[in-house]
Amino acid sequence: MAAEPRKRKGANQSRSPLQQQAESYLVHHRKVARDSAERLWRTPIASMMTWAVMGVALALPVALLLLLTSLQGVSAGWESSARITAYLKESVTLESANALRAEAEADSRVLEVELIDKQQALAEFRSSSGLEDALDYLEGNPLPHTLLVTPDEASRTPGGVEALVMRLEGMTGVDRVQVDLGWLQRLNAMTDLLARAVWALALLLAAAVVLVIGNTVRLAIENRRDEILVAKMVGGTDAFVRRPFLYTGAWFGLGGGVVAWLLLQISLWWLSGPVERLAGLYRSDFSLNGLTFDGALALLIVAMLLGWLGAWVAVKRHLDAIEPGEIAGG
């Protein structure tokens, strides 16, 4: 028992210089990271403002991306439930309609076929259209029997659906086949366009974030000019001198990321009620998706990287220019 601490001490002394160097390097990193974070805390208003600017600039494209994925979720949901409607000819009797249903269902590409007969269709139409009285004036039932064909999963591609439509059109007794995917294609085209616009916006705003951080870090460099001169004079490497500013940039980024996340959560909460109502009116299960844990983490990491990059630009432009030659005077 007593030998234990002595042994540890012995190991301590025999540590290689390389190990010691690595250790003090890490210690220094920790110290610099803490020190630059504390500096931001010491000027809370200024830091807050930078964070807010970053937060807004980051929240905007992320919000649009979220909207986009939500929209894509809608179209994907409908695409998977794409159904083909085959209207039968008026002359087709209920028995033949049943036979056609069986024939269609026998196809391996078909998952399920539902037959909606004339009476059922009329009843449904009556209840949903609000034209009850007008329908009473009709002599017969103008609606045909209808087959609702659900393709199996493998055939839910544009090509697969197309082939199935051809097959159904070829069946005797089928009048017209309809796949209502036109609006879905339009929505897809619109989301594609929106996606490009969002990425372009994201790129521009990321550049803005880098510039904002770059400018803020430039001011920090000016404020700590004396310290930089002394550090360079006593033999600080460029990496040593840059380090605190790169950390400052990363912390600005992290703060901006947190603000962006907060803004997103707040606007999501604020919008969720109206969105639900709207989706309800469209009988859609559409909902605005918030950031997942992974998404939030990615947002913070990207924000930190942007902050770091901004700091790096400033450091490259302004720090390397500070040379201790100016201390000594003429």
């Binding site: 040593f240 201790p324 000594a328």
Partner: protein
């Protein structure tokens, strides 16, 4: 330890700060550098610090020719050279201790060694009791001694001083000079730029005299 071989430094086209300067300082030697203002004292010190590069000739410090030294290597040379300035260049946003610790932090010295070595340096200049104070609370002479502690904390083989007693009264100046001679006794090469002739004469040391960029006295090699 320090050697200048036919060193010329020309700024712009017509301003020549140093002309064919030739001298060398041995290990543990203490020398003064004097001359009218603008004679090239600061330029000479800057060449040793690699803040400037010579236009012609060679500057050698510790056996290393500095002319061709890559930029990346400059910090490592500076770690072997302690510098004291007239305006001492202390940082007022941190304590005396943290000021003196800077060269050690830059070198990546382990934290537990930093405390010991900083206190040894502060003890040497007689300021051990003031390590927690801000340099602003100290007198001019004390501030200068903090600057000296910072210059010697990592035990550099070369110590340069640019007008280290410029703002001090004669008694304090003598104290500071006494400190410098102590360092030279333990093997540090000390070069002090000063135009305080009375003080230089008191010290009875080798004196390099510059006049319009030319070394007119004290050149040559060794003691």
């Amino acid at each position: 330890m320090i050697e200048f071989r036919q060193v010329t430094k020309r700024y712009d086209s017509d301003h020549t700060a140093l002309r064919q300067v030739n001298f060398s300082l041995a290990r543990g030697e203490m020398a003064f550098l004097t001359g009218h203002s603008g004679a090239g004292k600061s330029t000479l010190l800057k060449l040793i610090m690699v803040m400037e590069r010579p236009s012609a000739g060679e500057v050698v410090v510790g056996g290393q020719v500095l002319n061709t030294l890559p930029r990346r290597q400059i910090p490592y040379i500076r770690r072997h050279i302690g510098v004291v300035f007239q305006n001492h260049q202390l940082l007022f946003d941190r304590t005396v201790f943290d000021n003196v610790a800077m060269p050690l932090e830059v070198m990546g010295v382990p934290t537990r060694d930093i405390g010991r070595r900083v206190r040894a340096a502060l003890d040497k200049v007689g300021l051990l009791s003031k390590e927690k104070m801000n340099p602003l609370q100290l007198s001019g002479g004390e501030q200068q001694r903090v600057g000296i502690a910072r210059a010697v904390v990592n035990k550099p083989p070369v110590l340069l001083a640019d007008e280290p007693t410029g703002n001090l009264d004669p008694e304090l100046s003598a104290d500071i000079m006494h400190l410098f001679s102590q360092f030279s006794q333990v093997g540090v090469t000390v070069l002090i730029a000063s135009h305080d002739i009375a003080l230089i004469n008191d010290m009875q040391r080798r004196t390099l005299t510059l006049d319009h960029g030319q070394l007119i006295a004290g050149g040559g090699h060794g003691r």
